[in-house]
Amino acid sequence: MEFVTLYSAAAIALILVGLAGVLIKRNLIKMALGFSLLGTGANILIVTLGYVRGATAPIVDSPALLEDAGSLVVKQGAVMDPVPQALVLTAIVIGVGVTGLMLATIVRLYANTKTLDVNALTRLKW
């Protein structure tokens, strides 16, 4: 088995584990951790989609990757797909902001209700 396949399978498993945490756990911090795992799994999955066999990282620091010396055109299939990497790069940073917001809400909820149990927070239940 190729290692990319392995990693995409691991990423899907990680997404499922995180989702299980979010759905089953009742502790708010555990749910936040589950979200974090979910995000990590999704990020790995997206990056595996940009993998190109036999290519290097998308950093063109040697002329060997160029088509010919004068033109600055990079060879076909010499580098990985930069687009998923760019997306994941920003997604991680946004992820920490969102996690922070989630945790701030949890802290505030705890200060008001002294519990981390979602089932106890019935006021917002529909």
Binding site: A20, L45, P58, I59, D61, A86, G100, A104, R108
Partner: protein, 236 residues
Amino acid sequence: MKPLFSLVMLALLATLSLRLAPLLQPGEELGQVAAHYASQGLVDNRGSNLVTSVVVNYRGFDTLGEVVVLFLSVTGIGFVLRRRQGLVLPAPVPASELVRTGSYLLLAPVLLFGAYIFIHGHLTPGGGFQGGAVVASAVLMMLLANRDRHLPHGLLSWIESLSGFAYVLVGFVGLFAAGSFLANRVPLGQWGDLFSAGLIPVIYVLIGLKVGTELSALLDQMTHSAEPEVKREGSR
């Protein structure tokens, strides 16, 4: 009732992903757009790091939006955790003198390293987001070693808003020079030089400053804002 429902959903999702997994075939050749970015990125931007080209130039407008999202979430945290009036914070246990000395000793090198990462964003792996995170971790070190100190909020918010403003201004440079927002139409320089790739390093330095200050503000709010009166000691 609810757990059962969750389990059913999970099982459904698991089977679905098992069925869909064979469709994900990594390792094939690139799509048309990606192939253009990968092969022409160096011609268009002269920056070695193609990811940076995508983040800052091809998708520069998205990145502006993402920085704004980060800003909004930090503002939201500040709003949720705003200081309550008249609440006296209990004094935290001060860190050891050695740790304080160490944090002062390491602050400048770590800041320099963060700056190195975002200044060389177009040449080596790294860039504004990573450098910003490194800068924020330096700030975190200071916050944890000196719990009684607060960040200079005025200075931080000035840096933050000025760099955001400058980002938009640089975008307008592209609009006037080439007719599209954030277009990279200034002299590109020599491939591999520090001053190359046109506006990319400028924008990435601005992003680095902005992300660094935003993450620092986030950490500061998490460590310093009004604490609920729960048990202080004995919690691990």
